[in-house]
Symmetry: C2
Subunit: 228 residues, 2 copies
């Protein structure tokens, strides 16, 4: 069985957190546009990304990673560790939602161009309060991990490390100066990011055509009017 | 061991989805304000609600329900069923986030009074597009469940049924006329709501002092200026 990742073509988006897991594990997968009629399945996903694993369709990014984690060797072995890893992924999901909502504060049904003024206000609040709050939290999680190996959970890399590294890369694309300045207080996060993107399979992936470039139809967007 | 639910006093909020699970199961729990210093734990939750189960702290509402589901007899027995139940809970979580964001479109750091105009625009879009989209999705899920017993997953009630019923109650409080009108196309959801709130333990809970009233410091808010 070859895993199929169904997601919108042309963007990294939420699919990227799943792609990074497959790439790091060196497990074969195909990356396709959402299949026709997925809404008609007996257990339909609400929206892409979703995973096709044999006859099963599995939706919701953190749920997909919860499913894949043990299968790809990217989750702890103990139940308590898995629950904690998933909890961190959900908190990263909240962070990612807030980053998305910067350019869509009035909701996903209107274009960015129709909510620019509101986006400016929301981005100001985000950069002032929420960005340092979330980064401070993950820095603390890294500092408290008794294993002291630089990963979020236990002694080895898990899928949440891949997600956090990708969020750092996205923030640096969207807000180069603000991200730089906020990350000055987060040496552990910066180190984690650097180690993830230095891993041989991730390096090969990022250089390949499979890795799409950041762009402004995506989750992380570079709109200088929202902040630098 | 008695479970402790740590959450903000005076509101139903996200804690309510967990309270309903304990109440339906008839399992003892205590409902307390967040303990001092929880941020200092080795595995700190980002925010309430969180569960204290023995020495463990477990955060993120869907993660808490994923943990409690099998322990309270409110999750399917098979792994695929549990993954599907969790996926539905995460989609309900997205729906709940969008309902929250109606009164906080510029983010959680500003008061509602400072974002009223933006809230009006966002609520208009939500009632027009997102509310029928989400309700239509859950109605379809109910229609497709091959067990045909009126629950979301399999033949028996699970924690996602409790959450969906509570969302219906909240929508009726916040937007009495719009909810009524949107629910006219969703007979299965209405029936699920009625069956949940007719269950003996849930009935007893709703009549007790433990059930807090809906109010405008909460997730679901009645602001007539946002829509009726």
């Amino acid at each position: 069985m070859i895993y199929e990742l169904h997601y919108w073509p042309g963007i990294q988006g939420r699919g990227e957190f799943i792609r990074l897991a497959f790439e790091e594990a060196g497990v074969e997968y195909v990356d396709v546009a959402p299949m026709n009629g997925y809404e008609e399945a007996e257990r339909p996903p609400f929206a892409p990304p979703f995973l096709k694993a044999g006859r099963r369709l599995i939706g919701q990014t953190p749920n997909i990673l919860l499913f894949l984690g043990p299968r790809l060797g990217l989750a702890p072995r103990d139940a308590a560790g898995r629950t904690w890893t998933h909890q961190l992924q959900l908190t990263l999901g909240d962070f990612i939602d807030e980053i998305h909502d910067l350019h869509h504060p009035l909701g996903p049904t209107l274009y960015y161009e129709d909510q620019k003024a509101e986006a400016r206000k929301r981005a100001r609040e985000f950069l002032k309060s929420r960005l340092p709050k979330y980064l401070g939290y993950f820095e603390r999680v890294l500092a408290r991990n008794a294993a002291r190996d630089g990963w979020m959970v236990g002694e080895t890399l898990t899928y949440v490390d891949l997600t956090l590294a990708q969020v750092v890369a996205g923030l640096r694309y969207a807000f180069p100066r603000s991200a730089q300045s906020a990350l000055e207080d987060c040496p552990r996060i910066v180190r984690l990011h650097d180690r993830v993107f230095a891993r041989p399979r991730i390096k090969r992936y990022v250089k390949s055509k499979r890795r799409l470039a950041f762009n402004n139809d995506d989750l992380f967007r570079r709109y200088p009017e929202l902040g630098d």
